[in-house]
């Protein structure tokens, strides 16, 4: 077990190193940061001096070593555009992204599961067909289009929900939350739906196929034979058994949701990490880009590590395999 954990940890570190390497190589192709940091009339000499001060003239290897050394200490330097510490900026933006991601996951679960159960139980009902068609739209329309359509409908035409921003936020220590004000909650609705629509569709389809599977199994037949009510069978027995894969997928998808919040955040001008990242890309703000990519890489590695370790605990077969592998 210990050997397995150590091996897993070493692999994780290797993955982070590769993420850092790829991220660093990408920065060579996004453009010249100095041009974005100064006004157009700034002279060649001043631009050169700035480049020198930022260490952009050093050999590539030196720059990479410096970058890795900083990253290992969670030190990402000062944002080129905002002249503020990057770690601080990202931690200020993190609550917004996390709240949005969690709300969208909740939305996906609360809507996706009932729809999945319904379409699984009543395969031929016309409502099931509507659900399936709608889910097809949800999976095939790009996020930014859904976002703009929702804004057009609910903000411009009906004028019931805000089109941008987080509304009023309340500071709880370092955490800024939009969950405690009416405007904050209203502002969450459209972005959560936009971000969660894809996950909702995924969960709905997953629950549906699991339900179809489970309903055919013997223990459901026995439950029927015992004369249990439909309700007890459907929700007490069948649904419970579909939940394990659903929760695994939801957990794993949370990382994806956080990472792909970029587009939703841009459409709704949601002040999260994704929006910060996109602005950074446009302005070649390398410190922010680096920190963001490393953080997302870290989140994925962390989630996968936890899942792997949980599997080992839950499933003795993996433990046996890993011993043989040694």
């Amino acid at each position: 077990m210990l050997a397995f954990m150590i091996r897993r940890l070493l692999q994780s570190i290797l993955v982070m190193f590769v993420v850092a390497l790829i991220a660093f190589l990408l920065f060579r192709f996004v453009g010249d940061p100095v041009n974005q940091m100064v006004g157009i009339e700034t002279s060649v000499e001043e631009r050169e001096a700035l480049r020198e001060r930022l260490g952009l003239n050093d050999p590539v290897l030196t720059q990479f070593v410096r970058f890795i050394a900083g990253a290992a200490q969670f030190e990402f330097g000062i944002s080129y555009q905002f002249k503020r510490p990057v770690a601080q900026m990202i931690s200020e933006r993190f609550p917004a992204t996390l709240e949005l991601s969690i709300m969208s996951a909740i939305f996906a679960l609360l809507v996706g599961i009932p729809m999945g159960v319904y379409t699984g139980l009543k395969r031929d009902a016309w409502l099931s067909k509507i659900f399936l068609t709608v889910s097809l739209v949800g999976i095939s329309l790009p996020t930014f289009l859904i976002g703009i359509l929702l804004i057009f409908l609910f903000a411009v035409q009906l004028q019931v929900l805000p089109s941008f921003g987080r509304g009023e936020v309340v500071k709880l220590g370092f955490w800024s939350t939009g969950l405690l004000t009416t405007s904050g909650l209203k502002a969450l609705i459209l972005p959560s739906i936009t971000l969660g629509l894809f996950q909702m569709t995924l969960i709905m389809r997953l629950v549906r196929s699991e339900m179809l599977e489970v309903m055919r199994t013997d223990f459901i037949k026995f439950a029927r034979a015992r004369g249990l009510s439909r309700r007890a069978i459907n929700f007490g027995h069948a649904l419970k058994n579909t939940m394990i894969p659903v929760l695994t997928i939801t957990g794993l998808q949370l990382g994806t949701v956080i990472a792909f919040a970029i587009i939703t955040e841009t459409v709704f001008s949601w002040p999260g990490m994704g929006l910060l990242f996109l602005q950074a890309v446009q302005n070649v703000d390398i410190p922010i880009m680096a920190a963001y990519l490393m953080l997302i890489g870290f989140l994925f590695v962390l989630i996968n590590l936890i899942v792997d370790l949980l599997y080992v605990m839950v499933d003795p077969r993996i433990r046996v395999d890993s011993k043989q592998a040694l």
Binding site: T42, K83, E168
Partner: protein, 528 residues
């Protein structure tokens, strides 16, 4: 403990909510870009300087028509050709209550020219500031300069005492280890104070009750937000959530005007959009012509010029939101601009010119173009390519995001371009800036006319530019400028296209002044 925090949060929530419903004169607006730093010397960029112009003030300021007005200086005179005397306004206080004096001016003049400042062009290095008394400053030059104070409206005067006390004397730069106070807070003399600044998201302002000038606005609070997405920005205006947004994309102007409660305020901007051609290399980097450079021949440049149907670009690409231009400076900024006319649109004449130059069958050339910098920049380049195809020129268009584009075509990229589209607004709002940056000869490293990407060179123009710089008599000066522009337009140093348009989306509840330099001054905004 936990319970108490929660209670506090509820209280804060209700308070915040109560505030938002009570603020009738809160003015909410959005811009596409972010307010990068509050340090007024760290970025020479229109939006940042314009925003800070509401908080900080210079010795001068510009009115709605961009005429220079006294601000922190009440008057100035040229005592001798190389000595200017500025009388400073008395009784002005910074937001923190400190008095504004001559020391602050001298201090600001030093700081704006120090390392890390992006506004070093505001005052030449050899200019000396001497305090005469608490409210008089002498500026001593080494040679006469009639446009000494032209850019001083965006040279903010900062408080010496406060800046020194807060360890902010050094201009905030990206190579610093930590943020200084002046990049996070502001202490100006202007009409508004910054209440909170959530970097890259929202900035809140409130009126400065102790402002020296009478406030023409009726605002009690201002909320600025960055909304980068065009569609969202326009939607937020249409839904009434915001009072003003800018810029409005040209394709949305009609939508904004069709809406009952909003209008799009449009006008020509000071920026001139133009095409440039590499006239320096002996062989073009991106062309089918080998061993020589066709752009060295004025006939070829003229042929390119005459092939462009500027009215078509105005109608189809810019949807009428552009003003075709004949010279490299906005007609708004040069009195004799009406004396210049564009080359006629004449594709047949262009073909003939090409044939005369020895390119009867045309040639291929690579074109560089930004796609997120100017209004419809990529679409303009595509239109130009199509028009040039009609005279036998095959254009290989390379349109890229500005970060990549500028890295390639500017001096840092070694002027790696053969044919390009660029825009220019003279920071000083004066022709000399255009002559020295875009028309003056340069060497390969960019010494001289740094932004003369094509490397056009005529020593006569350089000599005239030098004369313009030292000429104090306005009429003579305008004549010299005219002579210089006559040479550059007849030799077709560049192909001017148009002044792109400004478009601000404004709610009908709001009255404001639109300035042609795209700076937004809030001291005359009224809301009802």
């Amino acid at each position: 403990m936990k319970k108490r925090t929660f209670k506090a949060a509820i209280l804060a929530a209700t308070m915040a909510f109560g505030l938002s419903s009570a603020s009738a004169e809160t003015f909410k607006y959005a811009f596409q870009g972010t307010l990068k730093s509050l340090d007024p010397y760290s970025l020479n960029e229109t939006f940042t300087l314009g925003f800070l112009g509401n908080v900080y003030e210079g010795l001068t300021r510009r009115d709605g028509d961009l005429k220079i007005q006294p601000a922190l200086a009440t008057s100035w005179e040229v005592v001798e050709p190389t000595r200017w005397r500025f009388k400073l306004r008395q009784g002005v206080k910074f937001h923190n209550g400190n008095d504004f004096t001559a020391d602050d001016v001298v201090f600001s003049a030093d700081r704006v020219r120090s390392e890390g400042s992006d506004l070093t062009t505001r005052i030449a290095e050899d200019v000396k500031f001497v305090k005469v008394d608490d409210h008089t400053v002498d500026v001593i030059l080494t040679k006469p300069n009639p446009i000494l104070h032209y850019e001083w409206d965006t040279w903010a005067i900062i408080d010496k005492e406060w800046t020194e006390a807060n360890d902010s004397v050094k201009v905030t730069s990206a190579s610093d280890e930590a943020a200084t106070k002046i990049s996070l807070e502001a202490n100006g003399t202007g009409a508004f104070k910054i209440v909170s600044h959530d970097v890259g998201v929202t900035t809140m302002l409130e009126p400065n009750a102790g402002w020296w000038d009478t406030a023409k606005h009726n605002l009690t609070k201002v909320e600025f937000t960055t909304i980068a997405s065009d569609a969202t920005r326009v939607a937020a205006l249409l839904s009434g959530e915001l009072d003003m947004v800018y810029p409005v994309p040209v394709q949305d102007i009609k939508r904004v005007n069709d809406n009952a409660t909003t209008t799009a305020l449009t006008g020509p901007e000071l920026r001139t959009i133009f095409l440039g051609m590499d006239q320096m290399r002996d062989e073009l980097k991106y062309s089918s012509v080998k061993g020589k450079n066709p752009f060295k021949d004025v006939n070829v440049r003229k042929a390119f010029y005459q092939a462009i149907d500027i009215e078509a670009i105005k109608k189809k690409v810019m949807r009428d939101l552009s003003e075709p231009s004949a010279i490299m400076i906005s007609p708004f900024l040069y009195s004799k601009s009406a004396d210049f006319k564009r080359q006629p649109y004449d594709p047949d004449g262009a073909k003939k010119l090409l044939a005369d130059a020895g390119y009867a069958d045309g040639f291929e050339v690579g074109m560089d173009c930004p796609n997120d910098r100017y209004v419809n920049d990529e679409a303009i380049c595509q239109a130009v390519s199509a028009m040039l195809a009609k005279i036998g020129i095959k254009v290989n268009l390379n349109a890229q995001p500005k970060a990549k584009y500028f890295a390639k075509v500017l001096s840092s990229g070694g002027y790696d371009t053969s044919f390009f589209l660029l825009g220019w607004t003279p920071g000083s709002l004066d022709s000399w800036n255009v002559l020295s940056n875009l028309e003056a000869c340069r060497d390969e490293a960019g010494k001289g006319g740094t932004f003369n990407l094509g490397g056009y060179c005529n020593p006569k123009v350089d000599a005239l530019a030098d004369q313009v710089l030292g000429e104090n008599d306005p009429a003579k000066r305008d004549d010299l400028i005219k002579q210089a522009f006559e040479i550059t337009t007849s030799e077709i140093s560049h192909i001017p296209l148009h002044q792109q348009g400004l478009a601000w989306g404004v709610s009908s509840k709001i009255k404001l002044t639109q300035r042609a330099d795209n700076q937004f001054m809030m001291f005359s905004v009224t809301k009802n």
